[in-house]
Symmetry: C2
Subunit: 331 residues, 2 copies
DNA sequence: TTGTATGCGTTATCAT
DNA sequence: ATGATAACGCATACAA
């Protein structure tokens, strides 16, 4: 800032960097040129102090290297960066809970918005720790259409509709004459897991199929692998297996092929959830219920920007659908 | 801050949150209790403005979902968080270059330190955009021992020694009578790639082996897959393949098994670099040159803290070694 | 130990 | 269109 004085006075510099401020074009150009020569950038901390906008978006995640999460963080960071925001990463414990200490810690950085890849934290808890920021919740409506918004602290919602993709998957399996379907679950109480299990149950019932056999797992490769062994060695086995996510499906496939000597898809068919980038790798080539990542990130960014442009708006919503991607593990 | 006035005066609150400030323990306790009740946290933006420390560590990465990167970011975030820092994520273009626009953008956030997962940016360029922050460079000494620090702008160094792991791998392969060894490369000019190729070349020469056949790739699954097909269909094939990273090795393995109908390890042996978490998955079960992630992150954090505690110190260094992890793709 | 005063770099308000 | 001044929330030097 001091450096600029060599040329003009002080607030002009501020205006030069704010496109909507009134300043003579020639002067603005001059200032920006000199700023570049001097490697000057406005200090965002100071700007945040007076404007109340940090241009920071907090992302809370239990495990950055989970495939889905890392891919979403990647796309999100790209999209946010294009809008002038930066991603602030926080790790919570692996058990999908959220401790208040972390929230207080994050609060100090004053994020403009917060996206939590964590499920069992109540809106009330989150709201208590966020002043201006309105949390975004991922919601899984049980029926086909979004439900009424309920009461409670203000929060925005991203609705993800599982029905379409699950219907397509069950229909496909049914076409192959599958009878016994198992579900290798995700983390027990997680919302994604319960939503997926519930939708599977509903769709199977509608189509006259017996309820799925539940094999408890936690979204990880290793536990899905072990759960599959149990299913066939201790339990009754299955003709087809839904895994709560793609990584779990990889564990299922490897257990079937490399430990149980069963063929996929001839002996057992496997369907995942997510459609992460690895799902097309030849060793798996997984048929899976796709959640479109790009679409999802765009929806999130829209929510953030709409909220920031209109802090007092009532609850905002965006809705996403799913669909089946057919590859080689069903057939 | 205003809220605290209900109880005591103003600066006492500031002191209460700075452990080394002098304040009567009882008063500090009282203030902290009330702060918690009122959900008060000191504003880091304001703190940064006066103290010159943002407690932000910038991480620049071309692709968050690369396996190694995501795992390193994960561990790094955990470690930094424990020290009171937060990870600020920036995405650069995928071509491993670094544009100055991004650097200027990042500079505005005033990170205390910057870790760049980007290779072809010169220290001089980086230094120009960082005021206080001293960049950390990952360096791959060509001999066994760290080299002399060269001149140029001040930067700290993390030395990674490839020799040990590569020697173990080549020795193992030689024991199996391997003759023709290929190297499926990483991104052409990247430092990690050239270091790995060079060390492989040196070690093989020392052991009387012909130079490796080079198959050009870019660290990705897909290009490694294609490069392997070329190697066997157009080129002369190989008895053993080094891939520049584990993900590339997965592509190599899948191409060999699923497209070329070759057995791994019976027909072709495969060795990767990194030892990412997926390398123990049964479909790959990869023998690989391990870079210990935890150790690496600890070294990085040490470098950051040492530099922050002593901003004017001369160039700092940490050194890491590698070793071979033997699994199922050599044997 | 504790309070008062000052300044960090920026934007907003009010003036010109 | 441009400049002066206050204010944002905090830490620090100094005084008490």
């Amino acid at each position: 800032m001091v450096a600029q004085r060599a040329n003009v006075s002080r607030v002009a510099v501020s205006r030069a960097f704010n496109p909507h401020a009134s300043l003579k074009p020639a002067k603005r150009e001059l200032i920006l040129r000199i700023a570049q020569e001097l490697n000057y950038t406005p200090d965002r901390a100071a700007r945040a102090l007076v404007s109340g906008r940090s241009h920071l978006v907090g992302v809370i995640v239990p495990d950055v290297c989970s495939h889905w999460e890392s891919q979403e963080i990647d796309a999100l960071t790209t999209a946010l960066q294009a809008e002038g925001f930066a991603t602030l990463l926080f790790k919570t414990r692996i058990d999908y809970s959220m401790d208040e200490q972390l929230l207080a810690y994050m609060r100090g950085f004053n994020p403009d918005s917060v996206i939590a890849f964590v499920e069992n934290v109540k809106p009330a808890t989150l709201a208590r720790f966020l002043d201006r920021a309105v949390p975004i919740y991922v919601h899984y409506p049980r029926s086909g259409a979004p439900e009424e918004s309920q009461a409670g602290p203000l929060h925005d919602r991203l609705n993800v509709l599982h029905r379409t993709g699950v219907e397509q998957a069950v229909s496909l399996l049914q076409g192959y004459g599958v009878r016994r379907i198992a579900y290798v679950s995700g983390v027990d109480k997680s919302r994604a897991n319960t939503a997926r299990e519930h939708m599977l149950r509903v769709v199977m019932a509608e189509r006259g199929l017996a309820p799925p056999i539940i094999a408890a797992s936690d979204f990880s490769y290793d536990r899905a692998y072990a759960a599959t062994l149990d299913l066939f060695r201790v339990g009754e086995g299955a003709d087809a297996i839904f895994a709560a996510n793609d990584v779990g499906a990889f564990g299922v496939i490897d257990a079937l092929r490399h430990e149980l000597n069963l063929r996929v898809p001839e002996d057992v068919k496997v369907v995942g959830f997510d459609d992460i980038a690895q799902s097309h790798w030849k060793s798996y080539n997984l048929t899976t219920v796709k959640f479109d990542l790009e679409e999802r990130v765009r929806a999130l960014v829209r929510l953030i920007l709409r909220r920031l442009n209109n802090p007092d708006a009532p609850a905002l919503e965006e809705t996403l659908n799913t669909r089946l991607v057919v590859r080689g593990t069903v057939g």
